[in-house]
């Protein structure tokens, strides 16, 4: 076992020196037979295929379903590390919700000059239809995924907030399930905080946000764009785990001023809709009229206070990459506290000086599109060819305000299991927070994404990333 010295490795802090959270695991690991583990790895893949834990790849043949590769070495976080992280996430999510309320009401933060008006005014993620709307329970983002990277023993940075419809939680749950099946003995030796309450908590937290006129037990449903969506597995998984219906737009109608689903016994009212359809496609009557995935009139029912939509429409204004660089100020403005979790240093290319710096140092930076997602519109400078750099520089010059740039972070590594033994790979972490009117619930751990290619910093599943089970140890 060797450690890549250039980066902080979460398991091996030096040659043969195991970091404390991994010590028990390492004791178990060195006694394991590599052949047995290889067999287990194959079993895991067969298990994922059999259970259909796949994602669809856009732009490929219709029936293309791919597995997100799973690595059997867990990513382990000590409880004290997690305590700090979760406190930081909680603070950040509180800030995001307060920001969203403010931005769709009095806009104190704009008046105070903390966030420039143009940033909101010129942002497509700002949804005029939400102006003045107060969602039930006052909550905008019921489910938040915060992307966090680590660069050193005490250095955690938030890379991105996902306040719209963060995905990946099904992998967090299935990864743990797989580990429990493959290595039950490990979990009796090492005490790991459970994640399996997530679906129960999600349902409870959604139900707690039911509209005031909901009678009896709130009816919760999950709205999916359909089986061809890349995250369909997750949609059906979550509906199944929560014990609620999985609906598509054409299952729903406006009935007596509410949204109701077509059942074999007639129409049944839905109180809380956990939607996994983007704002633009959510309501063809109010947004994109050509959308086939949406529910006509749902925005009106929402504005009349007759349904809860989770997450609320218009939350994208909080996780836009252009807003990101203001997040520490936003948190301080609403909570009165300094942000616990740091932001990555960010150059706004709309600013001429920053643009110049970015163009001069393109080969060392990561450049991201402000409205993009999934790593497609992104440039990883150190990994790009001269030609790619030149092409991207031209794009940057053409529309600088579409981009932000960040230094290439020395993302921490965690070993993955290979035929030749352990090998360090870069990881990030997406913990999931559930927000309800009186509480916030952050599942210990989250989804660890890992770049499977040696040296690669891109962890996105659409770009060859894999996942790991994430352990937060009990004390």
């Amino acid at each position: 076992m060797t450690s890549d010295r250039q980066y902080f490795d979460e398991m091996l802090s030096g040659a043969d020196k195991v970091r404390e959270p991994y010590s028990d695991y390492e004791k178990w690991f060195i006694q394991e037979d590599v052949l047995r583990l290889s067999k287990k790895a194959k079993e895991a893949e067969a298990f994922f295929r059999r259970t259909g834990i796949t994602f669809n790849v856009y732009g490929q043949a219709a029936a293309q379903e791919r597995l997100i590769p799973f690595d059997l070495i867990p990513r382990i976080i000590a409880n004290r590390e997690w305590a700090k992280l979760s406190k930081g996430i909680e603070q950040r999510v509180r800030g995001i919700n307060a920001f969203l309320y403010d931005i769709y009401h009095r806009q104190e933060i704009l008046r105070a000059g903390i966030v420039p008006v143009e940033l909101i005014a010129q942002n497509e993620a700002f949804l005029p239809q939400m102006i003045g709307v107060s969602p039930p329970g006052g909550i905008y983002t019921h489910i938040v995924g915060t992307d966090i990277v680590r660069t050193g023993e005490d250095d955690f940075f938030v890379l991105e907030d996902n306040a719209r419809t963060p995905s990946g939680v099904s992998y967090m749950l299935e990864n743990r399930e797989t580990m429990l099946q493959m290595f039950p003995e490990l979990f009796s030796q090492i005490k790991v905080q459970p994640v399996s309450d997530y679906p129960k908590n999600l349902r409870r937290s959604l139900a707690a946000c039911a509209p005031p006129n909901c009678q009896g037990k709130p009816c919760v449903a999950v709205l999916t764009p359909g089986i061809h969506n890349s995250a369909y597995f997750e949609h059906s998984f979550l509906a199944d785990q929560m014990g609620v219906e999985l609906v598509e737009g054409h299952d729903l109608q406006v009935v007596d001023g509410r949204i109701a689903m077509r059942t074999t016994e007639g129409f049944k009212v839905i109180d809380v809709l956990y939607r996994r359809v983007d704002d633009e496609y959510l309501d063809p009557l109010n947004f994109n009229p050509s959308s086939m995935l949406g529910v006509p009139g749902i925005m009106d029912v929402y504005r009349a206070g007759n349904i809860t939509i989770a997450n609320a429409p218009g939350t994208g204004i909080a996780d836009d990459k252009a807003i990101y660089s203001y997040m520490p100020d936003i948190i301080e403005f609403y909570t009165g506290e300094k942000a616990i979790l740091k932001n990555v240093e960010t150059y706004r290319c709309s600013d001429p000086d920053s643009l110049k710096y970015v163009l001069d140092n393109l080969a060392d930076l990561v450049v991201k599109e402000v409205h993009g997602s999934g790593g497609y519109g992104m440039l990883v400078g150190p990994a790009a060819s001269k030609k790619e750099l030149a092409t991207f520089a031209a794009k940057l010059r053409k529309s600088p305000s579409n981009y932000i740039a960040q230094p290439t972070l020395s993302l921490s590594t965690v070993p993955i299991f290979t035929k030749k033994g352990l090998a360090p790979r870069h990881v990030d972490l997406r913990p999931f927070a559930l927000v309800s009117p009186n509480s916030m619930d952050i599942t210990p751990g989250g989804l660890t994404r890992v770049a499977l290619k040696a040296g690669s910093l891109v962890v996105n599943s659409s770009q060859g990333g894999g996942t790991k089970d994430t352990w937060v140890l009990e004390d």
């Binding site: 005029p128 001023g257 063809p284 009557l285 009229p289 006509p296 009139g297 504005r303 007759n306």
Partner: protein
């Protein structure tokens, strides 16, 4: 001035509609400039599912077509007492911030034509004069014409077509004002005409925001500022936002529409 309005919109579908929704913005609100004395909306062939205020505080109804209907009609009858305002609506603000009225929409996105027209504003000695000049310039460039445009025509398209109706004039106006950084909005409503009672369609005009005066109205089509003959119904960034009716329906039925409108003292 007391105005009596009777407005019927009748949709006919050439095949039964299994499911259809209409958003209806036809309810005026009382303000310093108008007092709604009576107002009734009657729907046939559909049912009112709910009522809400949109982001511009327009009272909006969501109406569902009765299953398998081939006709949907909306009857509005009411009386409004208007008070003279000299075209100044004033410093009355809703929840939407002023900067929002500087945002363009697909229908009011300025092109070369509108941007050229917006230069009128720079030449004038002050903003108010500039806006009046802009209003005149618009009606000169695109005189009233029923045949050049339709419901989805954008400001820029109407301008290059060289003609349009009140909707187009108001959209060109807000588009040009926003180019100059002036908050501007689209108003739909009714206008009593001195020479007739029966009208073909409801009316539309524009408002621009000036720091001292607040919102000031411009009826480009009639080359005047709104007075007591005007009843204001809905506000928005463009004709889509303030549209009296906008709908969606399942199936392939084609619709035709008949409007009957009387506005009188």
């Amino acid at each position: 001035m007391k105005l009596r309005i009777q407005h019927t919109t009748k949709y006919h579908y050439d095949a039964p509609v299994s499911y259809g929704l209409q958003q209806i913005r036809l309810i005026p609100a009382s303000s310093k400039h108008q007092t709604v004395q009576s107002w009734a909306v009657d729907i046939k062939g559909g049912s009112t599912e709910l009522e809400f205020e949109d982001q511009y505080q327009n009272k909006t109804l969501l109406v569902k077509a009765d299953p398998e209907t081939t006709e949907l009609s909306v009857d509005v009858v009411g009386e409004v007492e208007t008070h003279c305002s000299d075209g100044v609506f004033g410093r009355v603000y809703g929840t939407a911030p002023l900067w929002h009225f500087r945002q363009s929409t697909p229908r009011t996105q300025a092109g070369r034509g509108v941007r050229k027209l917006a230069k009128t504003l720079q030449k004038a000695p002050d903003i108010l004069d500039g806006l009046h000049a802009l209003s005149s310039a618009i009606i000169d460039a695109a005189p009233y014409s029923m045949t050049d445009t339709e419901a989805h025509t954008t400001a820029e398209e109407a301008l290059s077509a060289g003609g349009g109706v009140c909707q187009d004039h108001a959209q060109i106006f807000v588009s040009a004002a926003r180019v100059a950084g002036i908050p501007a909005r689209y108003i739909s409503g009714y206008l009593m005409m001195n020479d007739r009672v029966d009208q073909d369609a409801s009316h539309a005009w524009a408002e621009a925001h000036l720091d001292g005066l607040g919102w000031v109205g411009f009826d480009v089509s009639n080359r005047i500022c709104p007075d007591e003959r005007y009843v204001r119904i809905a506000t928005g960034l463009d004709s889509h936002d303030a549209s009296p009716m906008s709908g969606i329906r399942l199936g392939s039925a084609r619709e035709s529409m008949i409007v009957s409108l009387q506005v009188q003292q």
